[in-house]
Amino acid sequence: MEFIDILARIIPPAIFFASPLIFTALGGVFSERSGIINIGLEGLMVMGAFVGIVFNLTFHEVFGDATPWVSIFVAMVVSAIFALVHAVASITFRADQVVSGVAINFLALGVGLFLTKQWYDKGQTDMVDRPFYTIDIPVLNKIPILGDLFFSGWYLTSYLAIILAFAAWFIIYKTPFGLRLRSVGEHPMAADTNGINVYAMRYVAVMISGALGGLGGSVYALTIALNFSHATIVGQGFMSLAAVIFGKWHPLGALGAAIFFGLAQSLSIVGSSLPLLEDVPQIFLLIAPYVLTILALAGFIGRAEAPKSLGEAYVKGNR
C-alpha cells in the first residue's frame, strides 16, 4: 500500500503542475502543425496570466463564483487577439517565425508589466480573491485507489486540459479542418492547389495557439501563482514548447510530455522524503526532471519529424 501512498503524493501535484503546460503545448501543436513555429508560447502565457489576473481582480464582484471561468475565457480571447501580432508578422509579412516569436515574448512581458504599473501603481498585482480550487468528483472519488489518484484533489481545469488534448487529437486527426491544417503545415502549395486558403488556415492556427497559450497562462495564474508579476511566468512557455517537440507535434504526445514533466518535477520534490531517494543530494533531485527529459529523448523517443514546411513562409506561386 505504501507504493499507492507515494503515487497519491506524486500524481495529483504532477497534474496541477502539468495542466498549464498541456494547454499551452496544445496551442503549440496547432500552430506548428500549420507550419508556424511558435517560440512565443512563453509570451502568450504571460499575456494569459496577466489578463486572467487583472480580469479576476476587476470583475470578481460581477461574476461571483464564475469569475475564474470567465477570467480564463477572457484571457483566451485577448491572447488569441494578441497572437495576431505573430500571425501578421510571420504569415503576411513573411517575418522569420523565430524572430517574431521572440518579439512576442518581449512584447507580452513589456505590455503586461507596463500596464500593471499603470493600473496598480506597482510591479505586481494583489492576490486574486477567486482563484480555482480543487474538487473531489463525487462518487468516482470513492473508487478504491483510482479515486484517490484521479478523482480527488484535482482542479477542474486539469480535467479540461486532458479533455482538450483528446479534443485536439480529434480535431487534428479526424475532422476536415484538421486534415487541412496538417496539409498546410506539410505542403502548403499542395493545400493551396486543392483550394485551401493557406493564409487563413495559418491565421486560425496561430490564433488557436494564442487562445490555448492564454488559457495555459491564466490557468497557471489562477491555480498556482494567484497574482501577476514579472515572476509569474518564467520558463513555463519554453517547457511547453519542449513538450510540443517531445510529444512529436502530436496532441496526445504533448499531453504525455507535459505530464512527464509534471511527474518528474513532482518526483524531484517528493523524492527528498522517499526512503529510496532521501540520501540523494538535493542537487540531483533538482536537476532530475531536466536530465530525465534529455535521457528520455536520447534513449527511446529519438528523432522526431517536424511538419515539413515548419518555419517557412508561404509565398503564393513560389517553389
Binding site: 523565430v98 514548447l241 523517443i301 522526431a304
Partner: protein, 348 residues
C-alpha cells in the same frame, strides 16, 4: 534592380525609428512626455563618460551571447541554451579566477579559456545528441539551461565556497577590469572584455565567411544531404557548430565573471543575457557586424531605460515594448521593403 544595398541598410534604421516612434505614442497615450522620456534614456546611456562606460559594459556580453545564437543559426541550429552556457562559462571563469595564483599573463587567458571551454562543453551535449541521435536541439538546450542554473548554484555554494552565497572576488591577475578604463569613465565597470567581444565578432565573421571550416558549417546548415554528398561530415559539423556557439556564450559568462562582477553568486533565476542574445542575433540578421550593432542598441536601451523612471517617471518596461516592436519591424522587413520601393517608384 534598385539599389538593394541601400534598402538593406535602411530597413534596420527605419525599424528602430518606427519602434521608438511607437514607444513615443505609447508614452503619449499614457500621459508621459515622450521627449522627456527619451531624453532620460539618452542621458541614462550616454549622459556622461560613466554612463557611456556602463553602456559599453552592458554591450559586451550581449555581443557574445548574440554571436553565440547567430553562429548556431547560421549553421541551421537554434541554440536556446545560450543562457545556460553563459552560466557555466561564468562559473568556470570565476573558479579559475579564485582557485589559482598565477601571473596575469597565464591566469587571465586561462580563466577566459575555461569559460569558453565550459560553454563549449555545454553546447557539445545538445550537439552530439542532435548529430548522433537526432534529438531536437531546442528541447535539449532548454533543459540544459535549468541544469546549468542549478548546477552553478551548487558549485558556488558547495564547491568553490563553503556554503556561501557568493564566491570570493577573483584574483586581480584574472581580472578583465581596468583601472585605466574605469578612471576614464568615472569608475564605470567598463573592462577589457569589450575588446574580446569585438575580436570574437571578427573571429566569427572570418571563420564563417573566410575559412573552409566555415564553408562546411554553413553548407551543413543549409543542406545536410548535399554536404554529406560533398564529403563533409555532417555530424562533426553539427557538433562543432554547437561547440563554437557554446564557447561564444561561455565567453559572455566570462565577461560577467572576470569583468563586470569579479565573482559569481548563487542565482535565483536566469540572467537573461542568453535569452536577450536571441533577440540581439535576430536583430543583427545573424551577421557578425549586425550582432555588434544590435548589441550596442540593446545595451543602450537597457542601460538608458534605468534612468527613465527616476527622471521621467516612465516605467522601464516601456523599453521592453520598444525592443519588441523593433524586432517585429525588422522581421517584417518584407513590408518595409515593399513600402520603400513603392515610395521610390512614386518619387520617380
Amino acid at each position: 534592380m534598385f539599389a538593394n544595398r541601400t534598402v538593406n541598410i535602411l530597413i534596420p534604421i527605419i525599424s528602430v525609428l518606427l519602434g521608438l516612434l511607437s514607444g513615443a505614442v505609447i508614452m503619449l497615450v499614457f500621459g508621459y512626455n515622450p521627449l522627456k522620456g527619451y531624453a532620460a534614456l539618452w542621458t541614462g546611456a550616454f549622459g556622461d563618460a560613466y554612463f557611456l562606460g556602463e553602456t559599453l559594459r552592458q554591450v559586451t556580453p550581449y555581443i557574445l551571447s548574440g554571436l553565440a545564437v547567430a553562429f548556431a543559426l547560421r549553421t541551421g541550429l537554434l541554440n536556446i541554451g545560450v543562457e545556460g552556457q553563459v552560466f557555466v562559462g561564468w562559473v568556470a571563469s570565476v573558479w579559475v579566477g579564485v582557485a589559482f595564483e598565477l601571473p596575469m599573463i597565464i591566469h587571465l587567458p586561462l580563466a577566459v579559456l575555461a569559460a569558453a571551454l565550459a560553454g563549449a562543453f555545454w553546447g557539445f551535449i545538445p550537439g552530439i545528441l542532435k548529430a548522433k541521435l537526432g534529438v531536437h536541439e531546442v528541447i535539449v538546450t532548454i533543459m540544459m539551461n535549468y541544469i546549468a542554473l542549478y548546477l552553478s548554484n551548487e558549485i558556488v555554494r558547495n564547491v568553490i565556497t563553503d556554503g556561501k552565497d557568493r564566491t570570493d572576488s577573483i584574483a586581480p591577475t584574472a581580472s578583465l577590469a581596468s583601472e585605466w578604463l574605469a578612471g576614464m569613465t568615472y569608475f564605470s565597470r567598463l573592462h577589457w572584455g569589450l575588446l574580446i567581444a569585438l575580436f570574437m565578432a571578427l573571429v566569427m565573421w572570418f571563420l564563417l565567411n573566410k575559412t573552409t571550416q566555415g564553408f562546411e558549417l554553413r553548407s551543413v546548415g543549409f543542406n545536410q544531404h548535399a554536404s554529406n554528398y560533398a564529403g563533409m561530415s555532417v555530424s562533426k559539423n553539427i557538433v562543432l557548430a554547437m561547440v563554437i556557439s557554446g564557447a561564444f556564450a561561455g565567453l559572455a559568462g566570462a565577461m560577467e565573471g572576470l569583468g563586470t562582477f569579479g565573482y559569481m553568486s548563487v542565482k535565483s533565476g536566469f540572467t537573461n543575457i542568453g535569452f536577450d542574445g536571441i533577440a540581439v542575433a535576430l536583430l543583427g540578421a545573424n551577421t557578425a557586424l549586425g550582432v555588434v550593432l544590435a548589441a550596442f542598441l540593446f545595451g543602450t536601451l537597457k542601460i538608458g531605460a534605468l534612468n527613465m523612471p527616476t527622471v521621467a517617471g516612465v516605467p522601464t518596461e516601456l523599453v521592453e515594448i520598444v525592443i519588441a516592436l523593433i524586432i517585429i519591424f525588422v522581421a517584417s522587413s518584407y513590408m518595409i521593403r515593399w513600402i520603400i520601393l513603392r515610395f521610390k517608384k512614386e518619387g520617380k
